[in-house]
Symmetry: C2
Subunit: 535 residues, 2 copies
């Protein structure tokens, strides 16, 4: 038996041995002093190997609550195979965890925690089940390159200099182009559990490299892809009963915004936005939804938080009296006959409908994260569909940009609007949302080269030379196709009930992109700089 | 039924439809002219969708040699779902393949070849079988980062600039450090099918990014790891009967060099190097080993080729007469009583034993690749063991370098030589060789921090600050461990009988590291250069 010394009481030759599955008590009172000596001198966390006999614990010491609670091991021989130094930066305890920076710097110690072992095991199990499910359904896993070239639009991509001055690879932000090229290549059904890269700076709970479950298939449609993903999730979920057996609800983007003020609605709560009048909306909650009574000051705090993010919107906390009268600092705006549902909540007043909706979406999110009671295994999936294909450019620039990416196919009914009113077109895009978090997104792609050219050149005003190979590929008899990508880190984190995706990644980087363990990123040698023409 | 128009004879409404599994004949003589028109106008390689009835071929037209040779499809309706342009750069034919540059530029067309579809499918099947085998044996697949920091020694690593001036990631050349850190982290049994990166310039049949099957276990030994890999290969080989059921032979490095002149011996041929005298060696072949009679000029050509690579070695072709007399231009060096085995071959004369051995190793390789008959499914695996741990530095520098990497553990018997005669130490390293190609390599690693420090600081003279985290990890009760990495691209290429690893990679780069399809690497925008502080 091998493991680490978790705890010891040397006076009575008691050792608590830990391995990746749990703990066991060792009693070493029958081996002689010389044989015991190395163990006596070994620090906690030393790696040891013992032989012994499993015996029942003495009467009164049994603990039926833990797996090894009824037994202990009478040690016959022991070897300290690799001693640990004294004063490790932290020890492996169920409580009193070290702060995250220390955990990341000494990740090899942190990984010894049983919950970290379980998270990694769970991740491995889930991906293997996914692979087997997809293979059983006729999919081929194909590895696509990560050293690629710049993709117009989208996230900032890391660059990789080559020894030829001025020539750079870019690290792929997703296998999007490759999977479509595989469809042109006749692959039919593709998947990959793919590493992707985005240089998004310091966004919380994002990593510069992340993993997505990437799927594409020819001759399919939105409905069939959504059903496939529902079955995929059922096949890999540790407790498949937790997932509803009926199809996940499909909500239109428009509906989501009107009812929940977000395209990632948390459906564990019914609470929908109430449209009191064109400029007044409300979001109410029942007192029974709260874990404990919410104070007026919490209400005011939410009011203030949201107000700051939506400066043009009047946000006001309301509460109902026993007589059902609404008490609200902005009550002068409320019509006399306004009937707000919910015991308490927030009203917004604004001429800007979208701002009001987003503000109340934010209130819903804050409430669900901080105050509302959720059932532990409550999984509320939904598909959000019918997104607009294009959105106005950000930062006040004129023109349109893709809501998702330039390869998304317009709704069949809307395709005629391409040359006239592109801003009205709905895309054949679908997002998968679980408990208010986006865990995947996909679309049917444009397969006609002339449509793709029109979108890129006429609407998005992109230089298509960087995408010539895509247009050429569509123009060589590429079958119609579509697909999806699921965010594996997020999905596994939800399944493991982890607080952060960093708890389901073996060696994550900090929010700032640093590997605290190895000290990466780091300086490089001058000769490497010279080789890659870095000044 | 969906597929591509492979061939058509429009006068008699005959279409050959291709999908990823093969071909089928379509007869469209029962649909009316209007319905047939789109098909008539469609170019070859257009993507079509048909409905029809499977019927037997007319008498005399059956072809029992192909899977669909007994039937054809009577077309009821047809839709051209995406037409191909005319004059595609090449068409999908079993023979007359386009040159590789064209195949790579239009990879999406090239992938439509059935053998490419089969290669990708085979790769997907093999990796899934490997994953299932390893999971069944208690291994956890862990994804480790590719954005890392410079590793001292080893291959040239790509660098990835960050937005902080002077700070760079390096792309991992292998997960070596991470897998050892996972062992320190108590994972026990790790694997990963891992993307790795090396900037090795223009080496034929190498790729800047490649895939390895990466494995590491705690508390193991060479023998157990070798057995595990033998079982792994049997579990994933398409025809497991092709692999011997008994353990693969273990050859020492010393033996390999003396007998085969290489540490990657091709054991499909017995032919061993004959040590005639300390300065004369020979390698002979039987005439029966050749596919066709080998001419004297071929012999001279080999002689010349090898001579050029080993300038200090006299290389001379020999042939035996019917009377068993050796005819050889260097026969004056041969002792009168020399009995060379083989009907013909090469002798070398040199005071430099190693140069002679390597020259004859090269002769063996040229012969096996070009002249000798091999049985199609002959798989000759072997393990090469007992490599020297250190080698003299290259380029005439004084001092030692690691034969493989600095984490390899010395043989237990040799460990005392570390401080006295390190050049004599054998490492616990093992290479897996198949038919003369190295398909994997691994070792037991150093688990004691003081030994690792000694190797790095005293013998290799490396700056250990870049490896502090490794030494710290060993010093925190890291269990003994070892592992291996198999080259997946090469392994799959051998299984698929592909001419190059590029034929088992969906989107490979050229020898010069270029993606001819997308034109990567490419120039980047000035704003990206500025962001990453590139001049």
């Amino acid at each position: 038996m091998t493991g680490w010394i978790q705890h010891s009481r040397l006076n009575n030759k008691f050792i608590l041995l830990r391995d990746k599955t749990g703990h066991v008590q060792l009693i070493a009172d029958r081996i002689d002093e010389d044989a015991f000596k190395p163990l006596k001198n070994a620090n906690l966390e030393s790696s040891i190997c013992i032989e012994g006999t499993v015996i029942p614990r003495p009467e009164g010491q049994a603990n039926s609550k833990i797996a090894t609670g009824l037994i202990e091991v009478q040690v016959d021989s022991v070897k300290v195979v690799n001693p640990a130094r004294s004063n490790l930066p932290f020890y492996i305890k169920p409580f009193n965890q070290a702060n995250e920076a220390l955990r990341l710097k000494y990740r090899y110690l942190d990984l010894r925690h049983i919950w970290m072992q379980n998270n990694l095991k769970m991740r491995s199990d889930i991906t293997l089940k996914m692979r087997n499910f997809l293979a059983d359904n006729g999919f081929t896993e194909v590895e696509t390159p990560s050293l690629f070239r710049r993709t117009p639009g989208g996230a900032r991509e890391f660059i990789v200099p080559t020894h030829v001055e001025g020539q750079f690879y870019s690290l792929v932000q997703s296998p999007q182009q490759f999977k479509q090229l595989l469809m042109a290549g006749g692959l039919g059904k593709y998947f990959q559990i793919a590493r992707c890269y985005r240089d998004e700076g310091s966004r919380p709970d994002r990593q510069p490299e992340f993993t997505q479950v990437d799927i594409e298939l020819a001759f399919s449609n939105c409905e069939r892809i959504q059903t496939l993903i529902e079955e995929l999730l059922r096949s890999c979920w540790p407790d498949s009963r937790a997932i509803p057996s009926e199809p996940f609800p499909r909500l239109t983007y428009q509906d989501c915004m009107e009812k929940y003020g977000t395209d990632k609605p948390d459906l564990r709560f019914d609470n929908q936005i109430q449209h009191v009048s064109p400029s007044i909306m409300a979001l109410g909650f029942e007192k029974s939804q709260f874990a404990e009574e919410i104070s007026k000051s919490s209400g005011r705090a939410i009011e203030k938080l949201v107000k700051n993010q939506f400066p043009g919107v009047i946000v006001s906390y309301f509460e109902k009296t026993i007589e059902n009268t609404v008490i609200c600092s902005a009550s002068k705006f409320l019509p006399a006959d306004a009937r707000l549902s919910g015991d308490l909540g927030v009203i917004t007043v604004s001429e800007d409908k979208n701002a009001s909706l987003s503000a109340l979406g934010k209130v819903r999110q804050i409430m669900s994260e901080n105050y509302l009671v959720t059932k532990e295994n409550d999984l509320k999936f939904c598909w959000v569909v019918d997104f607009p294909l294009f959105l106005p450019k950000e930062n006040g620039q004129s023109g349109l940009q893709s809501a998702h990416h330039p390869f998304t196919r317009p709704h069949d009914e809307d395709i005629d609007l391409l040359e006239t009113e592109p801003e009205k077109i709905r895309g054949q895009h679908y997002d998968l949302v679980l408990n208010g978090q986006e865990i995947g997104g996909g679309s049917i792609r444009i397969h006609e080269s002339h449509v793709q050219k029109l979108v890129l050149e006429e609407i998005l005003k992109e230089d298509t030379t960087e995408l010539d190979h895509m247009i050429e590929a569509l123009n060589s008899g590429c079958p119609p196709h579509g697909g999806i990508a699921l965010g594996l880190d997020r999905l596994v984190a939800i399944i493991c009930k982890a607080r952060s995706i960093r708890d389901v990644i073996a060696f994550p980087k900090t929010t700032g992109g640093k590997d605290l363990m190895s000290g990466s990123p780091a300086e490089i040698k001058k000769e490497d700089k010279d080789f890659y023409h870095i000044k």
